[in-house]
Symmetry: C2
Subunit: 143 residues, 2 copies
DNA sequence: TGACAATTCAGAGTAGGTCCTATTTACTGG
DNA sequence: CCAGTAAATAGGACCTACTCTGAATTGTCA
C-alpha cells in the first residue's frame, strides 16, 4: 500500500476510501480482474460505490502507472497490479490469465526492421492453451 | 476462398451467402476486426443481416479453425484470418493491432517448469507501445 | 477551519453483444 | 430435379459492462 500512497501523491490524486479499497482489491485478486469484478468485490465493503467510480479510478491508476491494462480475449478490459516485466498463460477454455516469470523472455526485443517507427513500451510473451484445471474437466466429460 | 469452402465442407458447415461475405470481409480487413465491425461492413452487401448471425458465424469459424480470436484491450473480441504463427504490435493510443513476422519469435517456447500441466496451443509475442501515426498526432498537439 | 477543486453518486444512455422463436434455406437421396 | 429435413437466418427482446451528465460530497492545503 505504500506504493499506492506514494503514487497518488506524486500524481496529485486524492486519497479516498474508495481508491484505497479498489487498489487493495486488485492486489488481492490474482486474476487480472475486470472493472466490474473489482466493483462487485469492493461493494461488499463500501455499499454505495458505483461501477462508474471504479471504472474511472482504474483508468486513473493506469495513467499513474500504478496498475496496467493487460490483454483480454473478448471480455472487458482487465487490470494487473504487477507492473514488472512478466508473461502470461491464457486458457482458451475458462478465459483465465495466469502470470509466469521466465527471465530470458524479459530480454526479447523486436528488431528495428519490425519496430520501425513504433515506440515500444512493453514486450510480453502470451502463451495460449488449456490450463490443468480445464483439461481435467474435459477428461471427466469424455468418460 | 478455397480454404473457406474446404473448411466448411470438412466441418459440415452449410455454405450461405452470409458466411461467404463474412469470411471475405474479415480477410479484406487487415485490422483484426470485432464482430460488430464485420457486421457493419457486410450489412452494406446483405442489408437484412443481423449482428447475431455475424457473431454466431464467427464463433463457428473459430471452432473450425478458419479464423482465430486474438487478444484485445478492453474492446470486444477481435478476429484474425491469419492462422499461421505471427506476432502483434499493439498501439495503446489508437488500440490498433498490427501483424508482424519475425521467424526467430516463432520458435519461442515456454520451459516445462513454466508450462507445467498447461497444454500449449499457441505462443505469441505482443509488443505494446505507440504507433507511428499516433506519435505524429501527439507531436502536432504539443506545438 | 474554510474555500474549493477534485471526487463521488445516481440515474440515464450506449455499445456490443446473446437469447428466443418463427421462417427460410442448403443439402441429400430417391 | 424435387421434397424432406436439419441447419441457418432475421427480427426483436433482453443483458452486461461500461460511459456520460449533473448535483452533492469530500480531501487538501492555505
Ligand atoms: Mn499479469
Ligand atoms: Mn494478426
Ligand atoms: Zn482454464
Ligand atoms: Zn496508434
Amino acid at each position: 500500500m505504500d506504493l499506492f500512497y506514494q503514487t497518488c501523491r506524486e500524481h496529485g490524486l486524492k486519497i479516498t476510501p474508495q481508491r484505497e479499497q479498489i487498489y487493495k482489491e486488485i492486489c488481492r485478486s490474482a486474476k487480472h480482474p475486470t472493472a466490474d469484478q473489482v466493483y462487485r468485490a469492493v461493494k461488499r465493503r463500501i455499499s454505495s460505490i458505483t461501477l462508474d467510480t471504479v471504472s474511472r479510478t482504474l483508468h486513473l491508476f493506469v495513467k499513474a502507472g500504478l496498475v496496467i491494462s493487460v490483454e483480454s480475449y473478448g471480455t472487458a478490459r482487465r487490470y494487473d497490479p504487477n507492473v514488472q516485466p512478466h508473461h502470461h498463460l491464457h486458457c482458451t477454455e475458462c478465459g483465465g490469465i495466469m502470470d509466469f516469470e521466465y527471465r530470458p523472455f524479459d530480454r526479447i526485443t523486436a528488431p528495428a526492421q519490425v519496430a520501425g517507427d513504433f515506440e515500444v513500451s512493453r514486450t510480453r510473451v502470451v502463451v495460449s492453451g488449456i490450463c490443468a484445471n480445464c483439461k481435467k474437466k474435459q477428461k471427466r466429460k469424455v468418460r
